[in-house]
């Protein structure tokens, strides 16, 4: 074996050579004092590099970090707080109304109740409208699909249309599978 280059020497010291290459290099080292010197040099250098002293951390460092931790992000909790708050407000308003018309709170509670009622009514009508819009959109899509199917049926024989649908379905399933299984990037914001 001729003298190894430095990358091979480092690979040997890193333990990255195959058993066969390692044995071959060790055989060479027995016969070559120059390479033995190179390996001894690099070995000492690597050992020294990996044994540099560790800087001291303040003993209370982890407590300091824990004291600064931001609240954990949890969207579910936010919704729970919102729902709980709305329920509490509604209960207070109903309790205020139940006390009767003679209390000073009654007109305020009545106004809040009316506003809440209007808000709920507006929201429900918005939801109904959205559902109607979605239904109309789906209907339009169905008509469009029917027209397309008829057009295609006129162009292609019936057997090939089924095959094309099968291929399309297969491609879409594979694309969906890929989207679900593809490796996700780290969420830390790459600086590249």
């Amino acid at each position: 074996m001729s003298c190894p280059d430095l990358t091979q020497i480092y690979a040997y010291l890193d333990g990255e050579l195959t058993a066969e290459d390692r044995l071959r290099l060790e055989e060479h080292l027995k016969a070559c004092s120059r390479c033995r010197q190179l390996v001894a040099d690099r070995r000492l250098f690597l050992e020294a590099s990996s044994s540099l002293p560790q800087p001291d951390l303040p003993p209370d460092f982890s407590e300091r970090v824990m004291a600064w931790l931001p609240p954990l992000k949890s969207p579910v909790r936010v919704w729970l707080w919102l729902a709980g708050g709305a329920y509490l407000l509604f209960s207070l308003v109903v309790a205020g109304l139940a006390l009767g018309t003679r209390t000073a709170l009654f007109p305020v509670c009545l106004q809040i109740f009316k506003n809440l009622y209007n808000l709920a009514a507006d929201l429900s009508s918005l939801i109904v409208r959205l559902i109607q819009q979605a239904y109309g959109f789906i209907k339009a899509l169905r008509i469009l699909a029917g027209v397309l199917a008829r057009l295609l049926a006129n162009v292609f024989p019936s057997g090939s249309l089924g095959l094309a649908a099968l291929v399309l379905g297969g491609v879409m399933s594979l694309a969906l599978l890929w989207m679900l299984l593809r490796p996700t990037n780290y969420p830390t914001g790459d600086k590249k």
Binding site: L6, L46, S50, Q54, F61, V65, P70, Y186, P187
Partner: protein, 187 residues
Amino acid sequence: MVPDEDRILVGRSLKGDRRAFELLVKKYQQPLFNYFCRLVQEREMSLDFTQEVFLRAYAALHTYREKYQFSTWLFRIASNLLIDHWRKKKLPLVSIDAEPEDDEHRQPQLPDLEPSVSDNYEKKEMMERIEQALGQLPEFLRELFVLRHMNDFSYEEIAAIKHLPVGTVKNRVFQAREWLRSRLEER
């Protein structure tokens, strides 16, 4: 502690168990502090950066994916923080992201005759000289050298942290080693 335990601790932290996150902090605070101390070379700033990594990690914990090692995820946050710092200091960062054409294919030649470093130094003295020379090593090489030798990451893990091919990482660690070693010859 095996990486699976990290994942368990992350899961518990996400359920609101702060003690579990504290265990992760205790496990990784020293490796992160070593990393920043060698790369920033200012103790107070290194402490701030180490703390900042944990705060960012905690805030983004819900986005951590279990298929990655927690340590590489955490060091990627650290590396991004460092890149921001170097950008602000306007240090040249081209080399970090650039892929030199011959980076993976350069064949280092065996030196014909070189002074023996091991004859000149005892290990302790050599450690002191390496520490001094490390400060002069270009940042993009220093980071990989530190990840390899002070944080004991494998080449594959460094490649995952830095988003670089393994061959490029190996080559740059090689360059850093030989650069530092050549400084030891100047006695």
